[in-house]
């Protein structure tokens, strides 16, 4: 019977996942100027995991964050959770595509900054799509879209910079 031992790497990922959940919860307590607009600092962790440990680990951390975070906040299966899940799935798809393309074709390699912007845009788009398709199929929602996307671009660049700084520290 093989012993279930955790490697040093597993521990590192678990630590990062726990950190992601914490950031997720902390962020949800922040007052938001507009629904759907959040700095998305938890995505920083996803990006760090992606670049250090690969796509599978990043997906695991991101999804764990959404599920565990919502269970702890008591929003599991509520609209907030659904929107968060939709955004996370969309951003994982975008990250997968961006990351994978960079490996196949080195000229198109994105650093953490480009991946962060891509993920932020996809996160917002996925969340918005679900909000419009499921919850509020009202054309008035589109008045919010440009503002939401602007916020996504700004926060995408910011978390890209933070992730870059964090990756540098981790390498030491």
């Amino acid at each position: 019977m093989p012993a279930l031992t955790a490697t040093r790497e597993d521990l590192r990922i678990a630590w990062l996942a726990a950190l992601a959940v914490t950031v997720h919860i902390a962020e949800s307590a922040l007052p938001s100027p507009m629904p759907g607009v959040k700095p998305g600092l938890a995505n920083v962790i996803t990006l760090v995991v992606l670049l250090r440990y690969g796509l599978a680990a990043a997906a695991w951390v991101a999804l764990l964050r959404v599920f565990a975070g919502s269970l702890l906040l008591g929003t599991f299966l509520s609209p907030t959770f659904m929107l968060s899940l939709a955004g996370t799935l969309a951003s994982l798809c975008a990250l997968g595509a961006g990351y994978g393309l960079g490996r196949l074709w080195p000229a198109a390699r994105l650093s953490v900054l480009g991946l962060s912007v891509l993920a932020a845009l996809a996160h917002m788009a996925g969340q918005f799509w679900l909000a419009y398709a499921w919850f509020i199929p009202h054309p008035g929602l589109f008045y919010l879209l440009p503002v939401l996307m602007t916020a996504a671009v700004i926060f995408g660049v910011l978390s890209g910079i933070i992730s870059g700084a964090m990756l540098k520290r981790l390498e030491i």
């Binding site: 198109a108 480009g114 912007v117 996307m149 671009v153």
Partner: protein, 119 residues
């Protein structure tokens, strides 16, 4: 920062003005239509739900079609068919009427782009 980063970020920033124009530029797009029969309000219908309406008027039934945020007359029991020729209405303030059948349709939005229409 790689060249691909630069392209992605630039693309994202460049996308924003288009998004603003597309979502806000035609801010006067109507959201609902008021249907009046004989000067009295008969119904208010949202324009984002595609449907067909049959409105009984003075002469008979006029048929209205709603699609993609627009509304139009597709049939009316009048002779001139001016209402049908008016075509699609989408901007708030626009209206079409079948006078013989005493039915009129007004598009209303959040804030009407025009207070009145001269023709």
């Amino acid at each position: 920062m790689t060249r691909a980063d630069f392209i992605v970020t630039l693309g994202a920033v460049a996308l924003l003005p288009f998004l603003y124009v597309a979502s806000w530029g035609n801010g006067a797009r109507g959201e609902q239509a008021r249907i009046l029969v004989g000067g009295k309000e008969y119904a208010r219908v949202p324009l984002y739900k595609a449907q067909r309406l049959e409105i009984p008027g003075a002469l008979g039934v006029s048929v209205l079609e709603i699609k993609d945020g627009k509304i139009r007359f597709i049939a009316s029991p009048c002779r001139g068919k001016q209402c049908v020729h008016s075509g699609w209405l989408a901007l708030s303030g626009e209206f079409a009427a079948c006078l013989p059948n005493r039915i009129s349709v007004h598009v209303a939005g959040r804030e009407p782009r025009y207070d009145a229409v001269n023709f």
